[in-house]
Amino acid sequence: MSARPALLAFMRKEVRHLLRDRQTLAILLLLPIAQLLLFGFAVRTDIHAVRVAVVAPASDAASAALRTRFANSGRFQLLPAVPHADSLESLLRRGQLDVGVVLPPRLADRLTAGEATRVLVVSDAIDPNTGTTMQTYAIAILRDWQDALGAARGAVRIETRLRMRFNPTLESVNLFVPGLIALILTMVTSLMTAISLSREKERGTFEVLLVSPLHPWQIIVGKVLPYLALAMANVVSVLLAAWLVFHVPFQGSVSLLLSASMLFALVGLAFGVLIAAITNSQLAAMLAALGGTMLPNTMLSGLIFPVTSMPLPLQLLTNIVPARWFIEIVRGIMLKGVGLSVLWPQLLILSVMLAVLLTLAIRRTNVRLA
């Protein structure tokens, strides 16, 4: 008896299940795009309309130039000049101001004399991330201002240097797209295979398959391939939407990105099969798949919180989260344009994870029914 027609017959059935459940299929195809739009438009960590006030003891050409720079930056909303630094505090407290820039007295004289010019930047850091971001914007403008002054006069000391590479416009959507691809792939792969396999267990059809000449690996492959195709369709649609709607830059190799996505999808699929093999009901499988993937993939992957700012035990834990490595790969390819020579360790780690999960999944399915 040849294995091929049996596997084909089984896969044909899986595709039919998938195509017949129109509602689920529509959700699976459209949800990722909806998620991308939501993330892209609503969840932004870059900030617009930062209210800034400049404190200038004397009004002169240099301070006027700075005010103009803030007004024209597009990020800032310039408030009327504040005569004294003491009034900044109450404005900040009352939430009427985001950033205050305090220029020293005798600014014009100091600049002419070539003395060090100290500029104080006060920002509302009630949300530390926002505060840091606003401060960064302000420092960038101050630096430009100093550069311009220096070009005109010479001998102006530049004290702040800040370079933002790879994502110069600080568009957060660029950072979210890789994480979003990870999230979507996880959902389609782990969750859907876990549910579809455990449904067969619950209904009793799995027994019939196990009694048949189908080998456990054939059952797994037949279950996995249709969902792999669906997951890849999702990757392509999200990338297209990111490119067309948000103009996310695409520096690296598309084929490497698709290959890495396929590898990551296979990790998720193997995880889903393993969950279905271990759990005894659809509900348990669904909860395990959600808890086992969504939580670590959002919290411990670097998608929302940078891995480097986590406490050490959590940093160690992120090593076993596949999405952590995948997000590094996607960010590397899309934003930095790096290739295999840089990303091979991450790809290797994902391959090892796949091998381990697949072995466990086949072994657990092979035990047949205890």
């Binding site: 008896m1 049996a6 059935k13 209904r203 019939v208 398959l209 009694v211 000449p213």
Partner: protein, 250 residues
């Protein structure tokens, strides 16, 4: 045809310290309808799982369709059919799609599947369209169809695990006619049931009590052995025997 369809020798399965099946031995001849009876928890399901390769025996041996269930499980799987009390067709596929799936799993080519399913549906006098979703069929049709699909690859032995649970008496009768028809063609039928009137239809019966085969023989022989008028009484006598030994709560 001389080798028995099923041979079990001291077949045993333990779960931890609990012995679910305790050294059972029996033979089933080709073309026989063999009833496998027992109260819930007597070990029927465990035994049937070992014979179908779903569970490895802890001790003892068995052959099904001439092949050892331990060493030639793949061969056994190709030669048996299986239908469980839980419905084994896919609700969201049509009648034809289900038939093609099971035919395909057992390695039949498409034209062969088409030929056999035509014969099969004809014999069933199957009236609903083959493009109907299985979920839309009445329960009786579903059960009869599931049985016929389990026979599509012409297995030597078919295992039926409480196949008539929840169906009406008329459908049960029709179902047994299908079983006889299959047996007449040489298929060995191994069937578990809760209905003792159904047990009367079997060529031979075994009754399991506490993991052991407590009685084995034709319905008439069993009634004579226990000097009672019905299989019901045979069953009750055996069950009472267990209760008095104090192992089971009344």
């Amino acid at each position: 045809m001389n080798t028995p369809a099923i041979v079990a020798r001291n077949l045993t399965r333990r779960f931890g310290t609990f012995t679910a099946v305790d050294h059972i031995s029996f033979e089933v001849q080709s073309g026989e309808v063999f009833g496998f009876l027992g109260a819930n928890g007597a070990g029927k399901t465990t035994a049937i799982r070992m014979l179908t390769g779903l569970l490895a025996p802890s001790e003892g041996e068995a052959t099904v369709a001439g092949y050892d269930i331990r060493t030639a499980a793949d061969r056994v799987r190709e030669r048996i059919g299986y239908m469980s009390q839980r419905f084994s067709l896919y609700d969201d596929l049509t009648v034809r799609e289900n038939i093609r799936l099971y035919g395909g799993i057992y390695g039949l080519q498409d034209d062969e599947i088409a030929r056999r399913s035509e014969v099969m549906l004809g014999e069933l006098e199957f009236t609903p369209p083959v493009t109907a979703m299985v979920r839309a069929l009445p329960l009786g049709w579903k059960q009869k169809l599931a049985f016929s699909v389990a026979l599509l690859h012409q297995p030597a032995v078919v295992f039926l695990d409480e196949p008539t649970g929840g169906v009406d008496p008329i459908t049960r009768r029709q179902f047994w006619e299908l079983i006889y028809r299959a047996a007449a063609k040489g298929t060995t039928v191994f069937v578990t049931t809760h209905y003792l009137d159904e047990a009367e239809y079997c060529d031979r019966l075994s009754i399991m009590v506490d993991g052991k085969v407590a009685a084995l023989g034709t319905p008439a022989a069993l009634k004579a052995e226990f000097s009672v008028a019905s299989l019901d009484d045979v069953f009750v006598t055996l069950a009472r025997g267990t209760a008095s030994s104090g192992e089971r709560s009344p």
